[in-house]
Amino acid sequence: MAERPEDLNLPNAVITRIIKEALPDGVNISKEARSAISRAASVFVLYATSCANNFAMKGKRKTLNAGDVLSAMEEMEFQRFVAPLKESLEVYRREQKGKKEARKDKDKKADSEEQDKSREEENDDDDERMEEEEQNDEEEVDN
């Protein structure tokens, strides 16, 4: 799947946005710092995957599941992430369920929209999210 080394990079524009949102307003983030954080994030994904995979193997499962990832966080000493991750997962599952139902029966669309409103508004674009992201990436690289 990953044919070129760049395939293992995360989109710079998105990483930069996440950093900016985390730091106080007006902090200057050097270009080098940005690309370093981006590399660190890729390594984090690999490290987490490898840890999670160990838990799956211990349980004799071939598919990584949510529990494996959460256990990996504990093992990696990122316990602080566990609670927020569980919360996000709840919301995500609800969202996925909502989408499924909306697809099954379009008349029920109103329902799922109501659910989604509590959290975010542009949920309708959800399916196009990935393509959008990839495009954004190319447009805003290193600005």
């Binding site: 946005r17 950093i19 590399r39 660190a40 994030a41 995957t49 490898s50 991750l85 996000s88």
Partner: protein, 137 residues
């Protein structure tokens, strides 16, 4: 926290799941990943980016300059145990001139062993203990 909300920012996860999946699958021992695990990994990576950035900013030297720099990050990788796994990809930078002197010194030490006092004082003590070195000019 600086919340800069312009269109589409308020999503559950902003990193592209497709890309996260590619990175996860690049690990040869992984056969399959369910959707929840993929989502959680993406979200965790986001939290990680925030944490690494805020931690490095708080503990770094760029704070008075209102900046986050590479050396703040490499400092974090070196000093904080949780971020130790990043030490290899965030090596401390040293000047090329210093590095050359260190090489020279190593060479001399290898050959003679006693001849250590010569230009020692120009090389930082803590730099000498680093395994990974990146050369900056």
């Amino acid at each position: 926290m600086a919340a800069r909300l312009s269109g589409g920012e308020n999503r559950l996860v902003s990193l592209p799941l497709s890309r996260i999946r590619v990175i996860m699958k690049s690990s040869p021992e992984v056969s399959s990943i369910n959707q929840d695990a993929l989502f959680l990994t993406a979200k965790a990576t986001e939290l990680f980016v925030q944490y690494l950035a805020t931690y490095s900013y708080k503990h770094g030297r760029g704070k008075e300059k209102n900046a986050l720099t590479y050396s703040d990050l490499s400092h974090t990788a070196e000093e904080c145990e949780t971020f130790q796994f990043l030490a290899d990809i965030l090596p401390k930078k040293i000047l090329a001139s210093k590095y050359l002197k260190m090489l020279e010194k190593e060479k001399r030490d290898g050959e003679v062993g006693e001849d250590e006092e010569d230009e020692n004082e120009t090389v930082d003590e803590d730099v000498g203990s680093q395994d990974q070195r990146r050369i900056a000019s």
